[in-house]
């Protein structure tokens, strides 16, 4: 069974490769490369897979999941400038793809346990753009 929990955070970022010229960055990232940054209301949907526990009837304790999402994602990223304040985005370009990858890394070790696994991380940069990442096995 799949269980999905949603969280929101608002953050700013710049998508630009420091090894490239401003013109080259504009060509790749468009306005996302504007040097002083801009922001989004990110929406995160985290999906966990497992069977309901025979005693509790739950796949995963939603209070615990909320705490994990808060500690790993919302507290460190909400109202932050990702490139300057959130590891590893001082050296990794904070595209939505890389953000999904980083959130997966942060959550996987805290969610995976016997018969329960992190199934999917979906990050909405806007309502019209989102990325799904299902772990290294799904590339």
């Amino acid at each position: 069974m799949l269980l999905t929990r949603k969280a929101e955070f608002s953050a700013s970022h710049v998508c630009a490769d420091p090894a490239l010229s401003p013109a080259e960055n504009q060509a790749i990232y468009g306005p996302n490369a504007n040097p002083n940054g801009h922001g989004h209301n990110y929406v995160l949907e985290v999906t966990v897979e497992g069977d309901p526990d025979p005693v509790t009837g739950m796949v995963f304790d939603l209070r615990e999941l909320k705490i994990i999402l808060n500690e790993e994602v919302v507290e460190p990223m909400d109202h932050r400038f990702l490139n300057r304040e959130v590891e590893p985005f001082d050296r990794v370009i904070p595209t939505t793809e890389n953000l999904a990858l980083e959130i997966w890394k942060r959550l996987e070790q805290r969610i995976d346990r016997t018969n329960i696994r992190l199934k999917n991380v979906r990050v909405y940069e806007t309502q019209d753009l989102y990325v799904d990442y299902g772990g290294p096995a799904c590339s």
Binding site: C15, D17, I28, Y29, G30, V92, I93, P94, T95, T96, E97, N98, A100, L101, Q127, D128, L129, Y130, V131, D132, Y133, G134, C138, S139
Partner: protein, 142 residues
């Protein structure tokens, strides 16, 4: 990894099958068969699948937008699907058939380094049609 981009277009259509009588069409399609057609604000989601490139992206958003705009939006937005979209003049302009037409139009000009994984069209908030690339060849209707 998958990336999904959402687009909007507004179009009119009328559901009427030449294989059925006027009465049968009216019974089957109800209001959708009213003679002068009607319209929707469609929402199209295009999902692509691949690996992250060195620039941190699966795909250049503007390249994806350019294909969707040229192959789909420019041809359906503010149009009458039954009359203005040649691929649909011979089909019933259901959103199922529209999804198949959209998929074929995208693949006809696909020059992106990612796989088209899914086409999803909502006709209204309540009616949603998804075409997974794996099952795209099934269920073609006339």
């Amino acid at each position: 990894m998958q990336l999904t981009r959402r687009y909007r277009f507004s179009a009119s259509h009328r559901l009427d099958s030449p294989a059925l009588t006027a009465k049968q069409n009216r019974q089957l399609y109800g209001k959708c068969n009213y003679p002068y057609g009607h319209g929707h604000d469609y929402v199209l989601s295009v999902t692509v699948e691949g690996g992250i490139r060195p620039d941190g992206q699966l795909v250049d958003r503007r390249a994806l937008d350019a294909i969707v705009t040229k192959q789909v939006l420019d041809r359906v937005d503010h149009r009458n699907l039954n009359v203005d979209v040649p691929e649909l003049t011979q089909l019933v302009a259901t959103t199922e058939n529209l999804a198949l037409v959209v998929r074929e139009a995208l693949l006809a000009d696909w020059n992106l380094p990612v796989r088209l994984a899914k086409v999803r069209i909502s006709e209204t908030d309540r009616n949603i049609f998804e075409l997974l690339e794996d099952s795209a060849d099934r269920g073609r209707t006339q």
